[in-house]
Symmetry: C2
Subunit: 122 residues, 2 copies
Amino acid sequence: MDEILLKKYADVENCPVRNVLDRFGDKWSTLVLLVLDDVAVIRFNEIHKMIDSISQKMLAVTLKSLEADGLIIRKQYPEIPPRVEYTLSERGASLIPHIKSLVQWANANFEDITKSRAAYKK
Amino acid sequence: MDEILLKKYADVENCPVRNVLDRFGDKWSTLVLLVLDDVAVIRFNEIHKMIDSISQKMLAVTLKSLEADGLIIRKQYPEIPPRVEYTLSERGASLIPHIKSLVQWANANFEDITKSRAAYKK
DNA sequence: CAGGATCCGGGTAGATACTG
DNA sequence: CAGTATCTACCCGGATCCTG
């Protein structure tokens, strides 16, 4: 690993690793990004339907923080009833391949890890 | 994205995405893996020195769960004072490239994201 | 040295109700 | 429809103390 990263192990505030982890670490961001990548354009309630285990509140919070980080774009139409559409930004799209490679690893190793975990308990 | 993943959005328990995310999502696992990759063999207190912001407790917890998942190997020597060495397992090593690609993305985008976040607040 | 046990506080997620 | 507001409960993480 780079020297740069090594030195930053201790520097929690400005550590890019920590920073990106805090973004991924949260329960839903990654899943939302994958959904957006999957459907291109989507509305609030549609996301909620696709990830039905997320609460309305957490979906709102997640979308807001993703928007704040410039990973997704929120487009609001001045209509009644209101309509809001979410899409991936360029920055968000550039992140997708990395997430997907992780997901593929997860899929490939999921079963083995589950077995290890079960065996460990004994 | 694959159909398979799509269907699994709703299936929290058996979803590989969720599962791998829960492993990464925790505050320290990824950082510990990076350290292990960096040094090959390392003892408890050495990790603690490198990541000094982690508490003793969380380091122990993190190492245990990584071991349970078969991502690291714990080797204990029957000596006094006790000595325990940690190394990456093959499975753990196979994960490293994926993490690193994510870290690189984080480094490349860290500054811009920080700016976006600051601008959003106004 | 490498942790285990315990206690404790704060933040975060969930449920529910409400609104422009 | 697309959220916000509030309240609560739980869990996580830190600090401290202890031990083989």
